[in-house]
């Protein structure tokens, strides 16, 4: 497919216009793997979230599928522009699809570059890392030992970026 970088950016933007913050990415063989980001973000059950075996989780998100297809159809020169064009569209609404797509096309390092170099607010960073974790849990077989080491280094750098914040006082906590 012969596209210009501008065409590519326009297509990526159009695809991402149809996604949402809590986009469902996978269909799961075992329903116990499923969790809803809106209600189970940081509870105890998500801490013990299992690692899916190969084939347990299949990507069914349409926008991730379309972005992968678009990437595969680009010639190698335009493919180089794909990760920055994709990450250029990173927002709260698109982060889920952007993270899954950029890892699927084999450009984890581009995500790392965005985390290191761009001024992203903590909410976007949280969603990015939440989706990275989702990918790790659902498709662990995709990550080589080097990928895991790269993620660990990125994570350590991210921890250093967090300002020293005091955990909530007991009296600040809402008791249900």
């Amino acid at each position: 497919m012969s596209l210009t970088v501008e065409d590519l950016e326009a297509r990526i933007k159009l695809i991402l216009s149809q996604t949402e913050r809590y986009a469902k990415i996978y269909a799961l063989r075992d329903p116990s793997f499923d969790f809803d980001y809106r209600t189970r973000q940081f509870d105890e059950s998500s801490r013990t979230f299992p690692i899916a075996a190969p084939g347990d989780a299949q990507i069914t998100n349409e926008q991730v599928f379309l972005l992968r297809t678009l990437y595969a159809q680009c010639d190698s020169k335009i493919q180089k522009s794909f990760p920055p064009a994709l990450l250029g569209q990173l927002t709260l609404e698109t982060a889920a699809v952007v993270v899954h797509s950029v890892i699927d096309i084999g450009h984890l390092s581009a995500l790392g570059k965005a985390l290191r170099e761009r001024k992203l607010d903590p909410d976007i960073r949280t969603i990015i890392w939440y989706r990275v974790r989702e990918k790790l849990a659902m498709e662990a077989h995709r990550f080589t030992a080097d990928d895991l080491a790269e993620l660990e280094a990125l994570r350590a750098a991210e921890v250093k970026r967090i300002p020293k914040v005091r955990p909530p006082d007991p009296e600040d906590r809402v008791i249900f």
């Binding site: 940081f42 690692i51 190969p54 084939g55 960073r125 990275v132 974790r133 994570r155 991210e158």
Partner: protein, 192 residues
Amino acid sequence: MPIQIPPRSPRDQWLDLRDVLGLVAKTIEKIRYLRLKRELTEGVNPEVNVDKQVLISRMEELGFRREIVEALHDLDRRLYEAGKPLDFKGCMDIARTAYEELVEDAAKAASSKKKLPLPPERSGNFQPWNQLLMNAGVLTGDEGALSQKLYNFLSNVGAHRLGSALEHVRVAKAMVIELGMLVAGRVQSLTA
């Protein structure tokens, strides 16, 4: 009246990020643990796992039934959980089924490319399809005989004994993947 949700404070946002980064660390640790466990309990053969991915992509390109890919994944999953001879027997059953179905789909694809007739219905689960692959020039006589012997091995060790051993399953998995890759690759390059 709509409920107003107050915006979260920057401190809460950073705390959420710190929380999720903690979960990422735990997930990476768990993946490494599972890989080490697998390495210690069943040994590692990275080449076979790479070849499995090649085989899967070839089967997808050829339009083989999705269930065959599922069976290969299922084999890994069962092997990971297996501990007793009966569990390994179950793995052998899956390996045999995956190979049998793979050969059937490969023979159908080859027959379509070479305009060869399909074997009559109920003529057998494996041998007629294996023969068709030889007739289509996908397998040589020696390779066809090896393929048949592999199927016999999978059937005998998997079905006719009370249990199988881990070594049997590892041999079966490696041979099914490697021979399957050879068959699928040859069918891909077959010209009408």
